[in-house]
Amino acid sequence: MAKTKIKKKISRRKFLQGTGAAIAVAAAAPTVEAQNPATIPTADAVPKTTIRITVNGTPRRIDVEDRWTLVEVLRDHFGMTGTKIGCDRGECGACTVLLDGKPVYSCSNLAVWADGRSVQTVEGLAQNGRLDPLQQAFIEHDGPQCGFCTSGQLMSAKGLLTRNPHPNANDVRAAMTGNLCRCSNYNHYVEAILAAAKGGSR
C-alpha cells in the first residue's frame, strides 16, 4: 500500500515536463529525410520503469515509459483492445477496468501506478470459455448498441456486484453513473445488471 502511495505522487504533468526536456536535448536531427529510424533516441531519452502487473490472472513484466497510461499499455503493448478510450480524460468510463477488484478509469491511471497490482479487463470476464452472467445478461437484454462503452459498463457492473451482490435499481444507477452511453441504452443496462444479480436472465 505504502509503495502505491509513493507512486501516486508522480503527476502526469511532471512526466510530460520530463519528456520535453529529454527531447530538447535529443533534438539534433535536422530534417525528416536525414533521420535513420534505427538511431532515433526518443525511446531511450524518456524515463522508463520496469513494472510487474497481473493481468487477468497472468503475471506480466514490462518496461513502460513513465508517461504511459494503464489503458495505453493494455491496448498498445498487451494487444488487449477490448478496453476502449472514449475521452482519455476521465469523463466517460469506456476504459474502466478493475484494479485490485475496484473499478478505475484506466486512462487516468499511469501504468507505473499499477506496479505490483492486479488488473482485470473485459477479456478476463469469461472463465473457461463460459461467459460471465453479466455478459450473458448484456446479450439477452440488448445492452450494447454501438458497443463502445460496453466493456466499461461490464467492468463497473462487475465491481458493483462484487461489493454488493444484490443491488436495487437505484444502487445500480448510482454505481454506474461514471459510465456514459451515448446510445443511451441505460434502461437495458440496468435491467441486465439486475437480471445478472438475480442469477436469472430476463
Partner: protein, 722 residues
C-alpha cells in the same frame, strides 16, 4: 407493450426479439473497432488546430517539430491542398458532385484563413503518439487575428465581419445568396382570414453528436491502392468521396469499417480525418493511425446546427390553423456541411404556409448531420409554439394536435399508411393523459410542481437503391454480402434476420459479410434511418434470386456455390412513406432548485413492421433519452468575448448519465404498407424527433412559464421564476 392496428400476419424470424448475432463479440472485447487495428510499422498522427475563431496564417514554422527525433511527416496548407468534398458543400447538397464543382466556398483539409477554433492547421505523423503530440506543440504559427462572429442573426448584419468574400449568407445550389424558401398558399391571405394571430421566438443550442468512439483513421498504401480503416456510416459513399477528393479511381480505394462506436450522423461520407491520414501515409511511406482526442472530436467534426426561429401563427376562433409563417436562422459554422433546414411546420394541416430559412456562416464549429438533422430543434420550436397557442385558446394540446396535424403529406400527397391518430389516441390513453396534464399550468401547490407534455412526428421512410448478394455453399451456409456498417442500430443482425425470413432457413444458417468495400456491394449506409428499408429490401430480392437458382439447379454440391444478387431501386407510385409517433412525458420541476426530473415517459411509434423488437426498443429508448438531454442539458457554449468553445467534452456538454435517464416505455403500433422488407419503416432517428418538444411542453405545464431557449437549464428556470 406491442400492439397492432390491423393485425399483420406473424413471420418466422422477422418480428421476434432476437439478440444481436454479434453480441458475444461486443461483450467480450473481441469486436474490432477502427482504433483497435494495429499495422506493422504504423505511425501515429496528431492534428494542430486553430486556437482562434478567425485568423489569417502569416507563417508556419515547422523546423523545430521536424527536428524532433521520431517525426516523419508534417502536412500544412503549404504542402497539402486537398479539397474536402471536392469543393465545399454549397447549398448543403453534399451528395451532388456537380454542385461541388461550381462552389465558390472550397473547404480544404487545411485552410488559410482558419475560420473556427478547431480548424486544422497542421498534421504530424511520428513514431508514437507522444512524439506526435510533442511535435504539434513545437509548430509555431504566426496568426493575424481577424474579427469573428458567432451568432447567425449578428452575422447577417451589414457591419459583421465577412467570413467569405460573398458574405455570410451561405450560397444555395445555384451559387446565389438566397434563403431556402418554401410556400404553399399565401400566408398574408391566411393571416387576414385569421381570428387570432400569435408570434414568438424560439432558440436552440449547438449540441454535439458526442458518440462514444472518438474519430480515428488508419491509412495504408500498397503501390497506388489506398486502404482506409475508418469509422464511417457509409462505406460506399466514403469510398466514392475519398477517391474523388484524392483524385484517384474508386477501385483504388478500399474502405473497411467493421465495428463502429456510434456516430449519430457525424460519421457520414468521408471526413477530413480520412483525407489527412491518407496523405500523411502517402508522404511517410508507412501506415498511419490518426487519433482524435475527445476535444478534437467535439470541436473538429460537427454537431447540430443552432437555430433562431420566429413563428407567426393564425387561427380561427375554434382553433383551426389558417396560416403558419417561419423565419429561421441556422448557424452553419464557416463551411456548409448540411442544409440548415428547420423542419416541423409541414406536419400541420394548414392552407397557408411559408418557411424562409437563412443558413448562415459563423465562426463556430461546423454544423452537420445529427440524428434527424433538421427536426428535433424544429419540432421544439413549432411544437412549443402550438402548445402555447392551444394554451391561449384554452384547448387541451392533445385535442389541438388531433384537430390540426397532418393527414396527407403537405396536405396533398397520401401516405402509404396513416396511423398518427392511433398513435395519439392509444398513447394518451395508456399514459393517462387526462390525469397527468394540468388544465391550469403551474397550478400545483408547493415548490415541487408536476406537468405533462406531448409532441408528435412523422419521419421519412423513403425507398431507394441498394444492393445485396447471397451465396450458398454445399455446407448449407448462406452468406449475405451487404455494404452496411453497424453504427449501433443492429444492421448486421437485421440483414441476417431478413435473409433468414426470405430464404425460409433458420437464422443460424446465415452469416453476414459487411463493412468492407472490397467484399460488399453498394449500400447507402447508415444515414437517414434507411438501411433496413433499402438494403433490407435488396436482401429479400437477392434471396428470391437465390431461390430461383436453387429451383433451377438444385442445391450446390462439392466446391460449387450458388449466388443470388439484386440491385433494386423501388418507387412509391406517387405516395409518401413515413413513420409516425407521439411522445408523452410527465415531469416534476423543483421550483426552488430549478431541476427537472422526468417521472413518466411513453413513446408510441408506428415504424411499420418491427424487424427485431429487442433492438428497436433500444433505438426508441436511446433517442428519447438523447432528446431529454437536448431539452435539459446539452450546449456547446462559446465565450462571446474570444470565440472559444467552453464546454467541449462529455462533462461540459452534460450528457445524460445512468442517474439522469428515466424508464422509457415503448409502444409499437405495427403496420405493413406493402413496401420495404415486410413493411419495415424508419426507426433510429425518429425517436429523438418529438422528444425535445414533449419535455419542453411538460415543463411549461408544470411551471406555467414557457421556456423559449434550449437547453432548459436550472439557471433559466430559476431566472424565469424569479
Amino acid at each position: 407493450m406491442r400492439q397492432q392496428n390491423a393485425p399483420i400476419p406473424p413471420l418466422k424470424t422477422v418480428g421476434h426479439a432476437t439478440p444481436r448475432i454479434d453480441a458475444a463479440e461486443r461483450v467480450t472485447g473481441k469486436a474490432t473497432y477502427t482504433n483497435d487495428v494495429q499495422l506493422p510499422g504504423m505511425l501515429y498522427a496528431r492534428i494542430l488546430r486553430s486556437p482562434h475563431p478567425h485568423a489569417r496564417i502569416r507563417q508556419i514554422d515547422i523546423s523545430k517539430a521536424v527536428a524532433l527525433p521520431g517525426v516523419k511527416t508534417i502536412l500544412t496548407h503549404e504542402n497539402c491542398d486537398v479539397v474536402w468534398g471536392a469543393g465545399g458543400i454549397s447549398g448543403g447538397q453534399q451528395y451532388n458532385d456537380d454542385i461541388k464543382k461550381i462552389t465558390k466556398h472550397r473547404r480544404y483539409v487545411f485552410n488559410n484563413p482558419v475560420r473556427f477554433v478547431g480548424d486544422p492547421v497542421a498534421a504530424v505523423a511520428a513514431v508514437n503518439r507522444h512524439v506526435a503530440e510533442e511535435a504539434v506543440r513545437l509548430i509555431q504559427v504566426d496568426y493575424e487575428v481577424l474579427n469573428f462572429v458567432l451568432e447567425p442573426e449578428e452575422a447577417l448584419k451589414p457591419d459583421a465581419v465577412k467570413i467569405w468574400p460573398e458574405g455570410n449568407l451561405s450560397l444555395n445550389a445555384q451559387n446565389q445568396a438566397q434563403p431556402a424558401t418554401t410556400r404553399r398558399g399565401n400566408v398574408e391571405d391566411g393571416f387576414r382570414a385569421s381570428d387570432l394571430v400569435f408570434e414568438d421566438r424560439y432558440t436552440t443550442a449547438f449540441v454535439h453528436n458526442a458518440q462514444m468512439e472518438p474519430r480515428s483513421c488508419i491509412a495504408t498504401w500498397e503501390a497506388d491502392k489506398l486502404t482506409l480503416y475508418t469509422p464511417t456510416q457509409g462505406i460506399s459513399n466514403c469510398r466514392n468521396d475519398t477517391a474523388r477528393d484524392l483524385g484517384i479511381p474508386q477501385e483504388k480505394v478500399q474502405i473497411i469499417c467493421q465495428y463502429m462506436g456510434g456516430g449519430f450522423g457525424n460519421k457520414n461520407q468521408n471526413q477530413d480525418a480520412d483525407l489527412i491520414t491518407a496523405m500523411l501515409s502517402k508522404q511517410a511511406g508507412a501506415p498511419v493511425k490518426l487519433e482524435f482526442t475527445r476535444k478534437d472530436d467535439f470541436i473538429g467534426v460537427h454537431g447540430r446546427w443552432p437555430t433562431v426561429q420566429y413563428y407567426k401563427v393564425g387561427l380561427t376562433r375554434d382553433g383551426v390553423l389558417s396560416a403558419i409563417q417561419l423565419r429561421g436562422y441556422s448557424g452553419m459554422g464557416p463551411y456548409r456541411k448540411n442544409t440548415g433546414a428547420i423542419g416541423g411546420i409541414d406536419l400541420y394541416q394548414c392552407p397557408h404556409i411559408e418557411s424562409v430559412i437563412y443558413p448562415v456562416y459563423t465562426n463556430k464549429t461546423v454544423s452537420g448531420n445529427f440524428r434527424g438533422p433538421e427536426y428535433p430543434q424544429g419540432f421544439y420550436g413549432i411544437e412549443s409554439m402550438m402548445d402555447d397557442v392551444a394554451h391561449k385558446l384554452k384547448m387541451d394540446p392533445v385535442e389541438f394536435i388531433l384537430k390540426n396535424m397532418t393527414r396527407k403529406s403537405r396536405d396533398e400527397v397520401p401516405y402509404t399508411n396513416y396511423s398518427l391518430e392511433e398513435c395519439i389516441h392509444r398513447g394518451a390513453e395508456a399514459f393517462e393523459w387526462k390525469k397527468r396534464w394540468r388544465p391550469e399550468p403551474g397550478s400545483d401547490s408547493g415548490p415541487i410542481k408536476r406537468g405533462a407534455g406531448v409532441s408528435f412526428m412523422a419521419f421519412r421512410s423513403a425507398l431507394g437503391r441498394s444492393n445485396a448478394v447471397i451465396r450458398l455453399d454445399a455446407k448449407g451456409k448462406y452468406i449475405v454480402f451487404v455494404g452496411v456498417t453497424d453504427i449501433g442500430a443492429g444492421a448486421k443482425t437485421t440483414m441476417a434476420m431478413i435473409a433468414a425470413e426470405a430464404l425460409g432457413v433458420p437464422l443460424s444458417k446465415v452469416e453476414v459479410v459487411w463493412g468492407d468495400t472490397d467484399r460488399c456491394p453498394y449500400s447507402v449506409g447508415e444515414s437517414g434511418s434507411r438501411t433496413t428499408i433499402q438494403t433490407g429490401y435488396a436482401v429479400t430480392q437477392a434471396a428470391d434470386a437465390l431461390k430461383r437458382q436453387i429451383a433451377e439447379k438444385g442445391l450446390p454440391a462439392g466446391e460449387n456455390v450458388l449466388v443470388g444478387s439484386a440491385s433494386p431501386n423501388p418507387t412509391l407510385d406517387g405516395k409518401v412513406r413515413a413513420a409516425f409517433g407521439a411522445h408523452f412525458v410527465e415531469v416534476e420541476v423543483d421550483t426552488e432548485l430549478g431541476t427537472v426530473r422526468v417521472l413518466k415517459y411513453l413513446a408510441v411509434h408506428d415504424s411499420g413492421r418491427i424487424m427485431n423488437p429487442l433492438a428497436a426498443r433500444s433505438q426508441i429508448k436511446g433517442g428519447a433519452i438523447m432528446g431529454i438531454g437536448m431539452a435539459l442539458h446539452e450546449d456547446l457554449i462559446y465565450d462571446r468575448r474570444n470565440g472559444q468553445p467552453l464546454t467541449a467534452g462529455f462533462y461540459g456538454a452534460r450528457l445524460m448519465t445512468h442517474r439522469d435517464a428515466p424508464e422509457i416505455e415503448v409502444m409499437f403500433i405495427e403496420s405493413d404498407d406493402g413496401y420495404g422488407p415486410y413493411g419495415a419503416k424508419s426507426i433510429g432517428e425518429s425517436s429523438k424527433v418529438p422528444a425535445v418538444a414533449a419535455v419542453a411542453n411538460a415543463v411549461f405545464n408544470a411551471i406555467g412559464l414557457r421556456m423559449k431557449d434550449l437547453p432548459i437549464t436550472r439557471d433559466k428556470i430559476l431566472g424565469a421564476l424569479a
